[in-house]
């Protein structure tokens, strides 16, 4: 496994595979700026086979694997021989249309990856903004630099490390500097937050959570309303949610979100112990 030094290396490797492809398959949809950030933080490594390219990104105490291959058979053959997959905890995301007939899930399960959980994408069109709701006089505010550690702590206890792409501290710092984290504090303590990413006319909620002891105080609603009020010009909202987290899905449906038929199968290898 070699460290990746440039974004170009990634795209060149993909191109090499695609040139020979008979039925190109991939779980990698690289965004140059994000790849550059992973490289800058020493997180991205690669392994080249003859018919496939594999990228590993370090995430806490495990690795996320991305692949591209000339066809499913070659992917299967080269993946099963990868030494790192035999000794390191590895997590794989497969983003597909719901009930896709060409799903890669059975192939991955046949070579030792195990289904861990599934995420579902929900989306809603833009619409007239909800009016902000100030709960008990507490108004959501944008997180500041002093909140990095508490935001990280709340995300780490509230979300799944393998499935929900939890941000590193440097990503939280960047989000704070870009005003992407709304929060409510109750008696100086972080009671809830809504972490989002906005790009042009689209905005995605990455995390929305209220600490358990504050859940009757309508802080979640206040955060959501503040988010929509700040995004009146947005035409598409989306988010990923764990597919069997029905309480969360019900809350999102209340705000107009519905499935857009895209799913993310999260798989783990045996070494992960998950």
């Amino acid at each position: 496994m070699q460290p990746v030094d440039t974004v170009n290396q990634v795209f060149t490797a993909i191109q090499r595979v695609k040139t020979n492809a008979t039925a190109f398959c991939t779980n990698f949809f690289p965004v140059p700026q994000k790849v550059q950030s992973w490289i800058d933080h020493g997180e991205l490594f690669c392994e080249h086979g003859s018919e496939a390219a594999f990228f590993f990104r370090k995430d806490r105490d495990f690795w996320r694997i991305y692949f591209c291959a000339t066809n499913i058979g070659e992917l299967q053959r080269e993946l099963v021989d990868l030494p790192d997959v035999k000794i390191k905890p590895v997590v794989m995301d497969l983003i597909e249309r719901e009930a896709a007939s060409d799903s890669l899930l059975p192939t991955m399960e046949s070579i030792g990856f195990r289904f861990y959980t599934r995420l579902r994408r929900l989306a809603r069109p833009g619409s007239p903004a909800l009016q902000p709701l100030f709960s008990g006089g507490l108004q959501p505010v944008y997180a500041g630099n002093e909140d990095v550690q508490t935001v990280s702590a709340m995300l780490n206890v509230s979300f799944d490390h393998y499935a929900e792409q939890l941000p590193a501290l440097y990503e939280i710092e960047a989000a704070i500097s870009n005003r992407q984290i709304l929060m409510i504090k109750h008696a100086q303590k972080l009671a809830g937050l809504l972490f989002f990413e906005t790009q042009g006319l689209a905005s995605a909620i990455r995390y929305w959570v209220v600490a358990e002891k504050f859940r009757t105080l309508r802080y979640g609603s206040a955060l959501m309303r503040a988010y929509f009020a700040a995004h009146a010009a947005i035409q598409r909202f989306n988010l990923w949610v764990i597919a069997d987290n029905q309480p969360a899905i019900t809350r999102y449906q209340h705000y107009g979100y519905a499935s857009d038929k895209l799913v993310d199968h999260v798989l783990v290898n045996e070494v992960s112990g998950a």
Binding site: K18, F29, G200
Partner: protein, 76 residues
């Protein structure tokens, strides 16, 4: 045969693609949408868009997508 605008509208019906000069910067297409678009264009026009060409610059607007199709021998 479908036009590029019709294909885009099928992928993201909520957006007015004709009004944008940069679909990526405007958040109208994400990286998964781009891959869906590539697969659809490959299928409709019988081409194979090269991996090296699957970069945001080639999917910024109708003109750049048109140029990419022309590079692949298609007159959009």
């Amino acid at each position: 045969m479908k036009t590029v605008t019709e294909v885009l509208k099928e992928i993201r019906p909520e957006f007015d693609f004709a009004a944008s000069k940069d679909f990526i910067a405007d958040g109208m297409l994400d990286s998964f949408d781009v891959l869906t678009l590539v697969a659809t264009l490959d299928k409709i026009f019988g081409i194979s868009i090269q991996g090296v060409d699957i970069v945001p610059e080639n999917f910024k607007n109708l003109e750049t997508i048109g140029a990419l199709l022309r590079k692949n021998g298609v007159q959009p």
